[in-house]
């Protein structure tokens, strides 16, 4: 298993889902066309069986209209052919792009990793609604085809309409994706209808609300029934918005909840993972780099290069586990060199430890005396004690 298998699943699955969706629509169109041709043919057949010379022009006219129909079907089929072909081509292009991951040329690999990080950032931007940044980066890095920007732009429109307290766009989306939402047992459509009911009650249009409930609150499962009962209470206490239950139903946070639910279902049916790739990879990376030293006060050794010590990541990495270390791995606090059998550890009287090579360096810089870089005290070489690390 390599990292590409783990990270790039949705890169290929999302265009595949688009292809699937297109295929279904194309098939619907084909069925429609076929049945309409069948109908015309049957009509002509009936006409021909009972026709005489007088109805020649009628027969010819229906034949011509069938020819016309066939022309149109042909045109549509060419369109659909191109659409289906384009989507398959997009999938193929992405597969080709991913091949660079295992390229034998170092420069190609480096470029692939750079592009991968840019793609991960674009995905993060889109999930957090930084649409302009995402588009700008996609353009600069020429990565537009490898990203799923179009899915997120549709999401953007619907989220904006939900923020404006409008449910129609989202409902249209639910209807479009009805079968898929049913497969994942989605509650979205019901929650939207419930919100519409609440809005009608809020505007004191109680009769309309009841009609609405009669129309849409049908075929409910037990949980939904409980929700409906709670909402019905609103009808009774319409003027009295003090009770806790009413406050919860009338509050704005329900709209935020709706937006979150929509996003969640959108990701599920498009095969986009719920957590962004950036967060998942960061979790693993920060955890693998996290050492107790990064969070200590007494024995902390400042290393500018350590990302976990970086003030930005330090906070983020706090809840993550430390890296596991079975054998001691020591590095010199002065030069950053590895301390091992070629560079043995030596302890100064103040307790600080350095590698032998560092001591040589320190002595050459300070007339044969060792000046501890951390505490600034000076020692002779004779005062240094050897340390044995197993």
């Amino acid at each position: 298993m390599d990292d590409m298998k783990i990270i790039e699943h949705s890169t290929l699955k999302v265009p595949y889902e688009h292809l699937n969706k297109l295929y279904r629509n194309v098939h619907k169109t084909i069925d429609r066309d076929c049945s309409s041709i069948n109908q015309s043919m049957n009509q002509i057949d009936k006409l021909a069986k009972s026709a005489d010379l007088g109805q020649k022009s009628e027969l010819v006219a229906s034949l011509s209209s069938l020819v016309e129909k066939l022309h149109q079907v042909k045109k549509r089929s060419i369109e659909m052919r191109n659409q289906e072909k384009d989507l398959i081509e997009i999938l193929k292009k992405r597969v080709n792009n991913l091949k660079d991951h295992s390229s034998s040329d170092l420069a190609t690999r480096k470029l692939f990793f750079k592009n991968r990080l840019d793609r991960i950032l674009i995905d993060y931007f889109l999930r957090n609604s930084y649409y302009l940044s995402a588009e700008s980066l996609a353009e600069k890095a020429r990565l537009k085809q490898m990203t799923n920007i179009d899915v997120f732009l549709i999401e953007k429109e619907i989220c904006e309409s939900l923020e404006n307290r409008e449910t129609q766009r989202c409902l249209n989306w639910c209807i479009e994706n009805k079968s898929k939402l049913k497969k994942i047992n989605s509650n979205l459509e019901f929650t939207l209808r419930q919100q519409e009911f609440i809005e009608l009650v809020r505007e004191q249009k109680c009769l309309e609300a009841v009609h609405h409930a009669r129309k849409y609150f049908v075929n409910l499962n037990p949980d939904q029934l409980v929700d409906v009962q709670k909402s019905m209470v609103l009808l009774a206490y319409v003027k009295c918005s003090d009770s806790l239950c009413n406050q919860e139903l009338l509050s704005d946070s329900r709209w935020t909840y709706l937006i979150g639910l929509f996003k969640q279902e959108n990701y599920k049916i498009n095969q986009i993972p719920e957590q962004s790739a950036l967060e998942t990879i960061l979790q693993s990376g920060l955890s693998a780099l996290k050492t107790p030293t990064c969070y200590q006060k007494v024995t902390a050794v400042l290393n500018h290069n350590c990302p976990v010590c970086n003030p930005n990541f330090n906070q983020i990495a706090k809840p993550l586990p430390f890296a596991y270390c079975s054998n001691s791995k020591l590095i010199d606090a002065y030069t950053g060199e590895a301390i091992n059998e070629h560079n043995q550890p030596m302890m100064l009287p103040n307790g600080h430890v350095y590698g032998y090579n560092s001591l040589v360096k320190l002595m050459s810089e300070n007339d044969g005396k060792i000046r501890c870089p951390r505490s600034k005290e000076t020692f002779e070489y004779g005062e240094v004690q050897k340390v044995f690390i197993l």
């Binding site: 390599d2 990292d3 590409m4 298998k5 783990i6 699955k13 595949y16 292809l19 098939h27 021909a48 020649k56 011509s64 020819v67 066939l70 072909k85 398959i88 999938l91 597969v95 990793f113 990080l117 950032l121 931007f125 957090n128 930084y130 940044s133 980066l137 967060e279 998942t280 979790q283 693993s284 990376g285 920060l286 693998a288 107790p292 200590q296 007494v298 024995t299 050794v301 350590c306 990302p307 970086n310 930005n312 906070q315 983020i316 809840p319 586990p321 430390f322 890296a323 596991y324 270390c325 079975s326 791995k329 020591l330 590895a338 307790g351 430890v353 004690q385 340390v387 690390i389 197993l390």
Partner: protein, 394 residues
Amino acid sequence: MDSLVAVEKEIDKALDLFENFYDGVDQNLNKAIDHLVSIINDLTKIESEQTFKLSADDSISMCKEQVRELIKHYSDKHKDLHANISKIGKAIDKNFVADYGNMSHVNLIDTVEKKMHLNEAICEHLLRSGHLEVCDTLVEEAGLVKKIDEDKKRPFVQMNYILNKLKEKDVSPALEWCQINCKELKAISSNLEFKLHRLRFIQLIQQGPKAQLEVLKYSRNFTQFANDCHKEIQRLMGSLIYLNSGLENSPYSCYLGAELWEEIEEEFTKNACKLMDLPVECPLDVCINTGCRALPALVNIVQVMQQTQCGHILSKDELPIEIDVGQNYRFHSVFSCPILRQQTTDSNPPMRLICGHVISKDALTKLNNSGKNRIKCPYCPMEQAPGEAKQMLF
């Protein structure tokens, strides 16, 4: 790699089949249209009642058959194509891991503050890679205006400018920078300036005999480095012999390699970052590279642990397996007590016994359990009092 090959195979198969299908459909439609047109032409010409009735019946029934075939082919064959499309999906699911293998457990960025920190880190990455406009857009969209101001951007903007010029093989901005920061560079004993002069010198030599005077004049720049780099200067001056015939076939051909230019970019970045107290490699890059290295091993472990129901690995104190991050990414010492097999911390520091062996403080306390005032080193026969152990600071 073979995962991609498998998916590609299915995609190519599907492309072929689609091509054949639509070609067939096109053919059938054309045939039907032609046939109908000819029937229309024939019928229009007929004047006699008898012939009309016969001809109409005949040709229409033939046509009906043809059209029926066409419709059946169109609908059924397209339905068959679905099998190939779903094969692509199955190949993807088989060869790739969905949902990051259940690694996403913790909601890492759960507060507004943490999001801001992450966005700042991303801005730094964008500045380092030269995407200044994207950084500006992000600052606006994410509301970071106060945090990322001109002061923060300036060093990166300058660095990118010099690096771009180095990519174009123009060393003058880099040399300017070196001269401005001469003192600081000397403090970190960097020979960046010399290397830049060397590159310029080689550039001039490549211009051939006409640049002879210029080359000699330029070599005066080496005087300040006479003490530190005299061997290299000797080699460079020696290469002047091949001024006329060119360096390609001389023992000095190594000077013509592109590695020198790549090396100088790296060296410049290292020195600039050291001077400005910045990390040499972008922290976000380091994290992502390490993360990508760690993911396969961690995903494997998560799959195994799911069967034993011990809770997710990311909710524990320590990862369950060791991840080799490479020597370049070891930034801190980690001491693992050989007795208790725990990492040492502030509250449990490493202690050096008189004999020189090192154990953690907790291990020392455990050895002293019996209350006596003498403990024996676990690794050698040396005995000592517990108080004689000295705390170490790596």
